[in-house]
Amino acid sequence: MRLIKQNIEHKDGSGTATLLPEEPEDMWHAYNLIRPNDLLRASAMRKIITESGAGSRSVERVHTTLTIRVTKLDFDPQASQLHVSGRVAEENKHVKLGGYHTLDLELQRNFTLEKNEGWDSVAIDTLKEAVSQDAKAQLWAIVMQEGLANICLITEHQTILRQRVEVSLPKKRAGSTDHDKALQKFFQTTFDSVLRQIDLANPKPLLLASPGFTASSFQQFIKTQAATGANKQLQQFLPKIIVAHSASAHLHSLSEVLSSQAVTSKLSDTKFARETQLMERFFELMRNDDARAWYGPKECEAAVERGAVGKGGGVLLISNALFRSQNIATRQRWVKLVDEVKEQGGEVRVLSSMHESGKRLEGLGGIAAILTFPIEDLNDGDDEGGIEDDVFANGDGDDHVNGFEGRREHYEDIEI
């Protein structure tokens, strides 16, 4: 994303920023920047229906620039598209004030954003991150096992599952070659899918990970395909394939893969490496039941209050999903927390909820902290009670993208 123009007043956070998204990943940043009630100005395509005096209707599509007050955002990670709905805030000759419109942000088209509540520190950090021109590491990864392959694109901020290949393989059976045949077919299907996804003209590294030998067998399969076919690009692609070990073919195994030495050395994604390292450290402390590691909104807030997340190793890990809250007060709560930790001299890491480490964090409620000194009784007196009754409320478990607010608020009895 390129910053075209900005006039943000740092004192009160007022002002606008004009941005130019250049690549699909920028939509993700835009998704994290734009909040409900913000003013967004972008080019739009609007269908205008005019009715003449004689009653005949003519439909016309016009290009216009609209300013809307955002009510809803819809991000499609697969296609990297962002749809922003809202009500028109500035009248023009085509559209009346208050009319509804959904803007589809497009690549290579400017948009201008003005924050309703002003640009807070987190928003400014997000903006900085979005416009940073550092080389963006990208990587294809296939986590697989026999009969299952998840093909994903790993970018700096997201892990996007692009395709899932699932084939029912017959197990080994004496005197039958069905298993081998089906395995070859599975490799072929996966290979074809990969070719459809990957741009061989400008290939990113491909990481194959699996338990057992599936990944190396698949690498061998690709090599054979490259050797027999006339695809020159594929042959040049071969050195970019890395084979690693994963515990299973499921996506959450990716974190294990991505933190392995073989991968980090090639990835040189320092941000991600640091985050992964911190997550590992946090889990290690948890495993040892060390009271310096705490997770959960209330616990972390309490820890920050006591000044435990400060200078000398205090780290606050927070998922950016928390900042996407529809509720302004909730967002402000987290922004305040972040500011406080920064003030105390602690380290704040905003993890992408679309990335592997961020997903692990989400399991913990989206927020975790490593304290500078142990506090034993952070969650004492915290007996909301009746968790037995509410375990299945709000329970989709994997619906992480839309944040956590209200996650433990609405409980109801389940019938079994």
Binding site: S168, P170, K171, K172, R173, A174, G175, S176, T177, D178, H179, D180, P211, G212, F213, S217, H245, A247, S248, H250, L251, H252, S253, S255, E256, F283, M286, R287, N288, D289, W294, Y295, G296, E299, K359, R360, G363, L364, G365, N379, D382, D383, E384, G385, I387, E388, V391, F392, G395, D396, G397, D398, I414, I416
Partner: protein
Amino acid sequence: MQRVKNIDYDEDDVYSEEEEYHEEPSYTDEDRESFTALTPVVRAELQESGLQASDKEIEEALWHYYWHVGKSVAYLKNSRTPRPQQPQQGKKDKEKPKSKFDQAAEESAKKAGCMIPFPSTASDWFQGISWSVIPLGIQGELVPAFAAYPRPQLLGGSSKLAKLAEERRKKAAASQAAPAAPSGALGSLDRLSKSKDVKENVLPPTMPEPRKYPIRQKREPTPPPKEPSPEPEEATEDLPDLRASPTEFAKTMATHAAPSQVAEAAETHMDSIFRSSSNEDPFKGPSPDDTVMRAQWHSKGINKHARKPSDGLLIKKTEALKLEPKIKSKGLDVPKLWAEGRASRKSAAAFVVIGHVDHGKSTLMGRLLLDTGAVAQRDIDKYAALLIPHTFVSMLINARRYQKQATELNKSSFALAWVMDTGSEERERGITVDIAQHPFSTLTTDFTVLDAPGHRDFVPNMLAGASMADLAVLVVDANQLESGMKGQTREHILLAKACGLERVVVAVNKLDATTPTAWDENTFQSVRSGVQKLLTSVGFQDPNISFVPCSGLSGTNVVNPAPSTGPTAWVASTSGTILQQLESSPPTSPPEELVKAPLRLQITDVFRGSITNPISVSGRLAAGNVQIGDTVLTQPSGEKAIVKGIEISAEPREWAVAGELVTLHLSDIDPVHLRAGDVLCSVDKPVAIVRNFVAQVTAMEALLPQGVDVHVGRLHVPGSVAALISTVDANGEVVRKKPRVVKGGDTANVKVSLQEGAPLAVGDRIILRSGGSTIAAGQVDRTGS
């Protein structure tokens, strides 16, 4: 008739003549009896029309027409008519252009010859075909038409039986040195009247004209109805009639719809056919086709109501058959059958072989199968021969096995392991990847070996095996106890317990390779105490644990007891051989409630059983019973399938009950709806699809809210621990609500969310793994949506 045949001669006919088998009819006693009875009748008939025939001819005719007097007479009469052309003239003889009259004559003669002038025969062929009851409204107006060419024979003429009979007839005629002199008494005009007997139909039929004859003959007006003829036999001498006879097809069509006077005559025919009261009926018994059909019917075990061949309700039956499902349940009372046969049955047990990688599980099992005779030495030798040097070296490089030189010893170890390791990758790398299943029998018990992989990457497969087993055989390398204790010996013991196994036989393996001396008793004892401690700590009861010193490679103390002298002398004082230990493990019979419970079977494998059984699934019947013909439901796909066949240890069965390892052949389902890990259940009480559940688990490592792999037997799905609800103590009392972490060894109630719904029920044993290690195991306590 012969003359007419000539016209049609083509290469096919010549060919078939050459191929014809020269078999003289050999008569049985029964035949002869029929001959004595029928020959005079036929002779009388012939004499009536002024013809003579030898006994032999009559017999022949009768034999070929299955003792049908009318047909035989007709045939004999025909054979005595003058033949202008001999069959041997062959196809090269071009027909002279024929006069219209001649054509018509041929037509009629052909009809008379090829279709025996008895409507009954054709009706017979059509009996049971329901289109004979076409309502009047939709019947076409049938008008006679004269074909300019010999018509293609419909149905009757083309039936294989008729063809065969005709061939035989021709043979017989040709083989007679001097064909019977045509009696001059019968002229061509006579022959034309052959079909007189069948023209009582009001609606003379038309034959469907083949398309290649576009020019239709001028149609005659519908002829006036004739008087019903008295009897078919009298048709022999009658007025010439140039009209073509109705086809057999049309006759059958008309049988029901014909006006009354005709119907009456037809009725008599039909009656005589269907009731088969007349002993003239050539199709009295079931036709060969019927016999074959019925045999097949029976062999498939489909039809309980055998079809009665000469039943007047054949049509009804045919319709009823169409409605029957392809595979019909016999409606057996399986629990009862099972309870009745309980005493007489051999006990059956499945055991899973577990242990650390490279401790010799597969080799030990290969040895066990070899020594019990389930596998022939020949196969082992074959495998040994297949171990060509370069593969072998690559195996050693690739992996692992022993750190010694590539000796003959290692080679035979691999050969034994190959009994279980049938996959190409397994053999190439010398490592078991997936469960191998192999049955073997002793005098007392039918065993099923489930050879589990030891490598940590394949623990999911080991879980699939452990969930199907009744007991476990833990293989421990006496020389490498330490590596196992840290690795999969420990994990497998935990998992075996988590899968609900209670009994474990510990095979202390590779005692022939102990240092400093082979069969060192101290080594055995130290291994024993170490493993025992671990087993007890996990929760196995002492009486359910037994230790057997053995060597899978040499086979000592596996099936055959160790020599009572030499270094192995002390072995006899331990608990016998592995096989003895297995046999002494009482295989538990499932309780009756379990057999009567709704069907539950977790699919461990979906495969192509054979050409006839393209979709087969295997697994252990966790509950309930199943029999051939049952309809089952697969979850989570929710598709129904019919059980086409059941196999246990490659033996076909009619039914199976809980606790058995079965292969079910399914039909009426697309294989995309079946995956390993899915559950087959009864249609009435299907297993629910669950996305969230509460489980009481024992943590093996620190358990946090985190992403986990959830295993339930073969099922392996991604999920997450969504919340830690409470930790509980041994009595189930809540120690702490909402703990921030569950430490290893603690028991806790946790909420687990799955990414996709999975078929789960309360009480299912679940195992949570993460990053390649088991972090918790337990049972489903409550299920949510």
